[in-house]
């Protein structure tokens, strides 16, 4: 079965420290990979995507993600976290216009 896994329900990090939110996928073929962010009572907002090319992709708000084909991972990173980054983050993979979402990781950035 096709799936996307986010192994951490919650990630806590201090403001100014680097952050990583993990994602692995089990999807056939060469899926497109995405990160979305959800703030309270809002829809999902697109952060970044990987389709092909450089394994490190840069997105909105200083976020970046590293694609690793051998580990089938697409971890979200940011060099220096902000309190305003606190939100729910979803990883997604798509093949043939079908999207598979992870269960979400709550990021808490403390001052």
């Amino acid at each position: 079965a096709q799936s996307v896994a986010q192994p951490e329900d919650q990630v806590n990090v201090a403001e100014g420290n680097p952050l990583t939110v993990k994602c692995t996928y089990s999807v056939s073929g060469n899926p497109y990979l995405f990160w979305y962010v959800q703030y309270p009572n809002r829809g999902l907002q697109f952060l970044l995507k990987y389709i092909t090319g450089d394994n490190l992709v840069k997105g909105s708000y200083g976020f970046e993600a590293e694609f690793n084909k051998s580990q089938t991972s697409f971890h979200l990173k940011k060099p220096s976290a902000l309190v305003s980054d606190s939100a729910l983050y979803f990883c997604a993979a798509s093949v043939f216009n079908k999207f598979y979402f992870g269960s979400g990781t709550k990021l808490n950035v403390k001052p």
Binding site: K49, N97, F99
Partner: protein, 113 residues
Amino acid sequence: EPEVTQTPSHQVTQMGQEVILRCVPISNHLYFYWYRQILGQKVEFLVSFYNNEISEKSEIFDDQFSVERPDGSNFTLKIRSTKLEDSAMYFCATGGAGANVLTFGAGSRLTVL
């Protein structure tokens, strides 16, 4: 920036009533999706719609659910006879050619009493 608009933002209904959730997609988008998110849980795929027909649906999308584009622009999700467990946030998402990025609406919160 183009947006996906959903109405209503919140609807409260009695169990057994019919509910219609509406979505106005981005004008040149061709792929339409409905997802739901039960409070605090994962985002679940319901149905995808392309070229005026359902392209795929999940096991959640049973006979109580239907989708249509009644006027070629709005994209609606109908729940014929709501159940308590239908209480959730319902998200419409649309994609352009290739659908390699989905744009989500802000969601419609459905509360079934």
